[in-house]
Symmetry: C2
Subunit: 226 residues, 2 copies
DNA sequence: CATCAATTGAACTGTACAGTTCAGTCCAAT
DNA sequence: ATTGGACTGAACTGTACAGTTCAATTGATG
């Protein structure tokens, strides 16, 4: 029960992730200056929130004139939407690790659990989530887009994996989507608020290993074979 | 397995909840006008977010002059903090139902599960959460205060209940705090994003009964006696 | 009725910011 | 060398808003 991964390295593609983005509207590659603007905007918006950042700040941080910003983006809102959309694209793939070589179900689930935990608590993930929750209501469609490219995609990947395990007789699950949600929630729930609310020294907080091992244990006792 | 509560009525104390608030600073009861201001501010802030609401709007909605607003609250920030703090106070007690009369563990947990689900998805709860996530970073201590009076208190209540059940031989749990987190998470996780992100018609979404029954089932298979 | 505190309404100050404009610069392609 | 598109920097417009001020009004109390 102690096969945790020691340090979970989650690639944080914050830097440079707007380098070669394809504009979904035109299908063309993003000009260098536009990428700079998105880069800077991403950092500022996720650090301070949409409302607290001025376009002057964005331009300055991007090392670009304000006129250039408006040459590439119609408005502050459109810049924001473009940034969030681009940031969501690489979400789900990063969270599901390779587990084909795992010796058994317990170690596979443990690895997945640590991957979820590490991914969810990465600064970039938290920043996107915070911004979506905060500004979602004011940007119709943004939250939906986030959910579909992000959490939903990941949960489907996990449900698919579980279904395969059932077919191999390694698990017994009648509702894999529910089981997938349950496993994610048991890992995520006890941990994410700590980071989200920046609670560093609350005595009630559980550490990652306890949470992941606990989730795996409960999951296997419910859905394990026999 | 079908003893769900049909419609879970969660009292939404949005209206009038600032009527007789005691100021934690002075220990005195809040003047009527101040309560009106907090009432109006609460509605506006939770609907539109801190940044999007002007003090003129608050004054107007409260049916009060702006000078009066500033007579009671030093600044917009302080008004906001006062509102959130007051709103958090009645958080935890509302979420934990009475289950002493429940015939067995399954029905008790099912009732608790539905209570959690109903409480979490109440507009007022969601609104507070959204505002905390969105504005937390800019108001030091606010998120901590929310967590301590809210989620943490509830989870402790549940952990205490579970511990008592263990002592009666109804459950087998070595880490009740972890178990409490797991149960809450399994109920909350699959449901809250639907409301948070306003996803009405996603085909992957599970309904409340499925989620609660699933959580109870998994919980009992893991922690149930023998 | 007189007093006094709370409240009102309206005008005012200062600032921050979205978005525009434009003359001038840079640079790559011809 | 010239042309043309992208970029700069700086000034400018208009607006929204936090917070202030104050003379006039209200209303409860003695």
């Amino acid at each position: 029960m102690n096969n945790q991964l020691k340090s979970m390295e989650i690639a944080d593609p914050s830097a440079g992730c707007f380098g070669h983005v394809i504009d979904p509207e035109t299908g063309e590659e993003l000009p260098a200056k536009a990428a700079q603007v998105m880069e800077a905007g991403s950092k500022l918006f996720t650090e301070q929130g949409f409302g607290a950042v001025s376009m002057d700040q964005v331009a300055k941080a991007a090392g670009v004139s304000k006129a250039t910003v408006y040459a590439h983006f119609q408005s502050k809102e459109q810049l924001f939407v473009a940034i969030v959309r681009a940031a969501c694209l690489s979400y789900a793939e990063n969270a599901m690790p390779e587990v084909r070589d795992a010796p058994d179900m317990r170690s596979a689930l443990t690895r997945i659990g640590h991957s979820i935990a590490g991914f969810l608590m990465a600064p970039r993930t938290m920043a996107i989530y915070r911004v979506i929750v905060a500004e979602g209501p004011r940007f119709p469609g943004l939250a939906q887009g986030y959910y579909e490219t992000g959490p939903r995609t990941f949960k489907r990947l996990l449900a698919k994996y579980l279904t395969e395990a059932v077919e191999k007789g390694l698990l017994q699950i009648d509702n894999p989507r529910l089981a997938s949600e349950q496993f994610c929630s048991m890992v995520r729930g006890p941990l994410y608020m700590k980071v989200l609310l920046d609670l560093k020294d609350d005595p009630d907080l559980l550490d990652t290993n306890t949470v992941v091992d606990g989730a795996v244990e409960v999951f296997l006792r419910s859905y394990g074979p026999k």
